[in-house]
Symmetry: C2
Subunit: 196 residues, 2 copies
DNA sequence: TTAATATTATTAACTATGTTAATATCTTAT
DNA sequence: ATAAGATATTAACATAGTTAATAATATTAA
């Protein structure tokens, strides 16, 4: 009888979707069990019939959002594009995606959820990193990077963008730099790296 | 009569030092007004005679910690060193400092304190960034970098390290990479950048 | 030195949080 | 239709940040 399981799954999505909506509207800090319950049309305590705690619920949101980001990036994939241009597009659009959705970045990368609960299947990483790797391989074929540098270049680009996102979204220290200014900087960095 | 001001300042440091101790021992998440009061030997409510709220208190801790980090890095300054070696030392030691003090990193870079209260003087940035810039200038003089690349190289290095720290300390996604492995990667990245 | 006053600290209280236990409600099989 | 099981809700607890009312202490004026 897995009609039960289907209903259970459906209930979970009610709470997950409510949580996602609250996160995007009011931010992850403003989310509470009570609000999620209310928005889903159930009592707050009902959540605990479907999730061990709200961190578990937040992990589901996290993976959902990550998949959204991947799909967004995929929409910028274009075989016809020059390899370097494709790489530039991926990196700048990735930055833009999170810069425009700071609350998602906060949940995915900087919120302190405890350890990932066992029961949550970490999706086989429909991975943004793969898109980046793919673009970089194409870049070497086109002569923008050297074969042996792919690994380190990929690492460098990825960690740089995430570092910039962290600074941008926390806006500490950072003296009023706009998203567009940072995007220009990302372009300059890739230009610099591919200029060998 | 600024005997008053001196006493006031002293009281503030009691709370700040207590907060710093709690952060290092139990983490920023475990900190509470009650604990800080207790540790400082006062009632929890007394804090509010000296700080508008605990976020203000945390900002004081933040700048204290940042200064500590700067001093730590300064202890690795060595005029005799080869320019590239000095750059490598700064970057890897900076990473190591926070990798070994994750709770400090959490407070300084990823905790969500509200906007910086006006009354807190943001120290004229006794800045880590300056040390990095200095080392990079020396590197160009020694021929490791080209003059026009300093800006972008500095940005790239700084954001990459912070990105790596974020991943390391949040240990999401990251598949069990050790601090030493990441340090090796940082070295490889700088090697790569200076290899022009 | 003592009385009045201003300053500073503490206790009590309020609202909100996550979570659990006890209770109520609904579903389903007989 | 009713008993049994599953599911949802209300009540309650511990802890949080913060504020107001009160107590204690230090300062000043006589």
């Amino acid at each position: 009888m897995d009609k039960k399981e289907l209903q259970r799954q459906r209930m979970k999505t009610y709470f997950i979707d409510s949580a996602k909506a609250i996160i995007m509207e009011e931010g992850v800090m403003a989310l509470s069990a009570r609000k999620v319950g209310e928005k889903a049309g159930y009592s707050y305590a009902t959540i605990y019939n479907y999730f061990t705690d709200i961190n578990a619920l937040l992990y589901y949101c996290l993976f959902d959002f990550l998949e959204d980001a991947y799909k967004y990036l995929l929409s910028y994939r274009d075989e016809a594009l020059d390899a370097k241009q494709q790489l530039l597009t991926y990196t700048t659009e990735y930055f833009r995606y999170f810069a425009e959705r700071p609350e998602i970045f906060r949940l995915v990368f900087i919120a302190s959820l405890g350890p990932l609960p066992e029961e949550i299947a970490h999706n086989p990483q429909v991975s943004v990193a793969e898109l980046l790797g793919e673009a970089l391989v194409a870049c070497t074929k086109a002569g923008y990077f050297e074969e042996g540098d792919i690994q380190v270049a990929a690492e460098l680009i990825a960690s740089s963008i995430h570092g910039k996102l962290m600074f941008f979204i926390q806006d500490r220290i950072l003296d009023g730099e706009t998203a567009e200014m940072i995007i220009k900087m990302i372009e300059a960095e890739i230009e610099y790296m591919s200029r060998k």
